[in-house]
């Protein structure tokens, strides 16, 4: 095949993606920059308002800051918690004991339960009087809180639910553990390393690329957290304690038809995600070990 024809065939193969990208990503992406400087309600044409949306959300909108705080707090607590829980569980499940495959299945299953279903189930098990969680606590002599009805605990109810889904990342960590060459452990044993020293100097360093991957995906996901909050606390929870950024953005867009404002919010979110991801990438050199 000559060079020209090869180029043509190559572009022909990727053309579906290129066309889809232009229609459903690139053009909407550019359009939303423009919309963020307008007042727009979908029905009538957008009206240019300059920086008014940005000025309002940064200086006049308390709920913008409130929802940003809820989301950042969620990212700061849930992302590291899930990394630690996921790695710990994977290490535990990497042992060769009888029935380990059954254990792995049990811990993995919650992560494939559809989000809407697990949200409905958690609403029920967190019921303050007849719920499973408070009944278990009652057996241990503890009076459980009102969970989703309580301004302090509603947020932690959602954290708890995210930990319940830890199986999804556990599987990735487990695959990472399986990739650690056995000779590293043999060498450590010969050097007289104790189990916790092997963990500290072999397992954890070798796992850092996988941890890094999960950290990046976790941060990106946490900032877009929506469905669980929408299903469980459609109004943002008691005292807006679970008014996540995306939930507030959705309310602005579809309840108030404030599409220009919502676009400005989306752009702020996008920039924050870019900055956060870049920040995580910058720390990479300090702690991520590639190719043992």
């Amino acid at each position: 095949m000559n060079k020209f024809k090869e180029n043509l065939v190559g572009w022909a193969f990727i053309s579906p993606w290129v066309i889809g990208f232009l229609i459903f990503t690139a053009f909407p992406f550019l359009q939303s920059i423009y919309l963020s400087f307008t007042r727009y309600d979908i029905i009538s044409a957008p009206q240019w308002v300059g920086l008014a949306n940005y000025r309002m959300l940064l200086f006049e909108d308390e709920l913008f800051w409130k929802s940003a705080a809820v989301t950042i707090r969620y990212a700061i607590i849930s992302v590291p918690l899930l990394v630690v829980a996921g790695v710990a569980l994977a290490i535990l499940l990497n042992n060769e004991v009888k029935g380990i495959a059954i254990y792995r299945t049990i811990f993995y299953l919650p992560s494939i339960v559809p989000t809407v279903a697990s949200s409905v189930v958690f609403l029920w098990i967190l019921n303050p009087t007849t719920g499973l969680v408070n009944n278990v606590l009652r057996t241990m002599g503890i009076q459980g809180p009102a969970w989703l009805n309580d301004p302090t605990w509603a947020f932690y109810s959602l954290i708890m639910m995210s930990v319940w889904h830890v199986g999804g990342s556990m599987v990735i960590y487990l695959a990472g553990l399986k990739d650690i060459p056995a000779y590293l452990y043999e060498a450590a044993t010969i050097d007289g390393a104790r189990p916790w020293q092997k963990l500290r100097h072999v397992t954890i360093p070798m796992m850092t690329p996988v941890i890094f991957f999960n950290l990046v995906m976790g941060v990106i996901g946490a900032f877009q957290y929506f469905t669980q909050a929408y299903v469980m606390t459609p109004n943002g929870g008691p005292q807006d304690s679970t008014l996540f950024y995306s939930l507030y953005l959705f309310r602005r867009a579809w309840k108030y038809l404030d599409m220009g404002y919502a676009s400005a919010m989306a752009w702020v979110l996008f920039l924050v995600i870019v900055v956060m991801t870049a920040a995580v990438f910058r720390t990479q050199k300090k702690w991520v070990h590639y190719g043992g």
Binding site: E6, W11, F21, P114, F122, L132, W164, A175, G176, A266
Partner: protein
């Protein structure tokens, strides 16, 4: 120094692992067991005086066994219809997304052309773009096309390939021997022939992984129907369950029956395709 452990210490260690795992199994499994058990319980057991008197394993057993919650859930909302809608939508999007993604991935993996690396990077970076940024213009576009209230907003984008599957398949296609394509080219085969006759048949496992992910994605998708479906006759299970919750929030036993109907097929699917599941997820995270 070689550290040989006595046999007893190993047994003790294994026993400890079992105990820790068994304890952790409780919070992992109880919510799902509670869901199924609630779906078979009657009002007395759910809201009577015993319902708030602490947890025992006996409280997981429905007494008496109440089979009314399932028919009641089906009467309150047409779940059979939602199930049909969801399955149909899943089949269409799986075929559309897998076929188109494989086609695009072949271009990225097996053909050298100008601008390939740039386009590949661009494609990867779209995966990090939050949906909120494009949500409103895409909605306006869908509305202008007259697709609002139909399944097209969920089907059409899938026909252009999905970045995640394209990435996954590109990585897989690259592992197939290049000599195979060269030999076929010498024999006068076109790229289309090589793609359909050689590459696709050798990639069944990777294609199955993508099909599985897309199936789960559509089955679970809440945001798509929330944005684009307004006719209750077109609801999917995910959206229908949320609507059920917001309209009949207190009916916990039928709600748990509906949640079970919604969750069970995914769990069955998991047991049928366990290997595809675990391999797919592991390769996604570990090797990229």
């Amino acid at each position: 120094m070689i550290n040989l452990r006595p046999k007893q210490a190993v047994t003790l260690q294994k026993l400890t692992i079992h105990i820790v795992l068994l304890i952790l199994c409780l919070p992992a499994m109880l919510p799902l067991l509670w869901m199924v058990s609630t779906s078979f319980k009657g009002t007395d057991q759910l809201y009577g005086s015993s319902a708030a008197s602490g947890f025992t394993f006996a409280s997981l057993i429905p007494r008496p066994l109440n089979l009314e919650n399932y028919p009641e859930a089906m009467r309150t909302v047409p779940f059979a219809l939602y199930l049909r809608n969801t399955v149909a939508l899943c089949i269409v999007t799986v075929v559309a997304a897998v076929v188109s993604s494989a086609f695009v991935a072949y271009g990225f993996a097996r053909i050298e052309f100008k601008g390939k690396n740039t386009m590949f990077l661009l494609m990867i970076s779209t995966m990090a773009l939050p949906g909120q940024v494009t949500m409103i213009p895409v909605f306006a576009l869908i509305r202008a096309l007259g697709w609002y209230g139909t399944y097209l907003p969920m089907i059409v984008p899938a026909c252009f390939g999905s970045a995640f599957y394209i990435f996954l398949l590109t990585q897989f296609f690259k592992t197939l021997p290049q000599e195979m394509s060269e030999a076929a080219r010498v024999d006068g085969a076109t790229e289309w022939t090589i793609f359909t006759r050689l590459v696709l048949p050798l990639s069944k496992s990777a294609l199955a992984t993508c099909a599985l992910f897309q199936f789960m994605g559509t089955w679970n998708d809440f945001f798509g129907p929330l944005m684009y479906i307004n006719d209750p006759a077109k609801y999917t299970l995910a959206y229908g369950l949320q609507q059920f919750l917001s309209l009949h929030g207190g009916k916990w036993a039928p709600l748990m029956a509906a949640s079970t109907i919604f969750t069970l097929p995914i769990i069955v699917l998991f047991f049928l395709a366990q290997r595809t599941f675990i391999q797919g997820i592991a390769t996604t995270g570990g090797k990229s």
